[in-house]
Symmetry: C2
């Protein structure tokens, strides 16, 4: 199945919708459903049936003629496509409010991510545990990344510190950076970066609000 | 200019990129630049020139033949399209880690949003101030929404409480809800909802990571 991602260019919008489908399919599986139509999925997700069909077919979700998508097979297809069938160990840098909020998010383990260490420079946080995750001093970053063989970093630090830390991460062999700092990071082409921009969601909300009131 | 949003259907992806363009244009304006090419914008944003051109033209950004986009006029076009030329008062419900992180985000005022009140039920938080914003008890919600005439809500509460609070908000005349709770909200068609799903960004990161390693 991993050939799917290599063969086809799946759109960002499709990829962003996959976790939402996955949650519905988990529920269906729990309730013992083995098949589901795109119309039923549309009622659950408020996404158009035609969009759902296209999204799921693009990642190779198995169907049964006229009866819709196979529940178990589609779960496997989505998990396989995203690599969520394995739990990837990750670490977080910056254990402030946003970092703590992410450490408190119980859903990550269903989404292939286990945050096993956090780093901060604030003496009030270093040595503490947040939701069961130990907070180390950032000075220990290199040692711990190497000893635990960590490849995925979550950055929740101020923008000014982000590029410097990123350079260190790249040097330590980190392969993916989930960046919540409000700066564009420069990395070699071999490193994946996902930039979160809180203002993007706000822009969407404002555009919707404007279209409703016009 | 507000006719632009009414006339054309601008894609979600375009809308989500607008804040990023806006930040670059603010910088250019500060440095005294009056014109900028899409090639220069591409170097700043890592977005393809053709995408930038299409995005900015779709919202009516003014151009000068062969010289690119007019800096001041494009700032006005984006701000006008998103309604960010006015500061909208908003309030936040749920002053936990994520709520506190949002209250600490200084960028909102540049993005048309001023959070003027926060609500929580935790006695340790009620009566406190977080980044200059007073935290009230959720029991005061109706009174304060009405007295301050607030129309925009930011929801950073657990999923189980979200629909109940939403029904109250709709009753109080709230017109837009920025929802960080991990549930789909039911609202009348007149109310705008923007659903943030932390797993969407993670899905993007994982898809990128997989494509780099395959």
């Amino acid at each position: 199945m991993s050939s799917v991602s290599a063969k086809k260019n799946i759109s960002t919008q499709t990829i962003r919708r996959l976790p939402q489908y996955l949650r519905v399919f988990y529920d269906l599986h729990e309730y013992g459903r083995s098949l589901v139509s795109s119309t039923d999925l549309a009622a659950e997700t408020h996404i158009l049936p035609i969009v759902i069909k296209k999204d799921l077919q693009s990642i190779g979700a198995p169907t049964k003629l006229r009866s819709g998508f196979k529940v178990k097979g589609t779960i496997e297809a989505i998990e396989d496509f995203l690599g969520w069938d394995n739990l990837n160990k990750a670490f977080l840098i910056g254990a402030g409010h946003l970092g703590a909020a992410l450490l408190g998010f119980s859903g990550f383990k269903n989404h292939g991510l286990e945050i096993v260490a956090a780093f901060d420079t604030n003496p009030e946080r270093v040595g503490q545990e947040i939701n069961g995750v130990a907070v180390y001093h950032t000075a220990q970053l290199k040692t711990i990344i190497k000893s635990k063989k960590l490849k995925i970093a979550v950055l929740t630090i101020p923008g000014a510190a982000a590029q410097g830390i990123t350079d260190t991460l790249v040097e330590c062999g980190v392969k993916a950076i989930w960046n919540f700092a409000p700066v564009k990071l420069s990395v070699p082409p071999s490193v994946a970066v996902q930039q979160e921009d809180i203002a993007s969601g706000l822009a969407e909300l404002c555009a919707k609000l404007k279209s409703k009131s016009s």
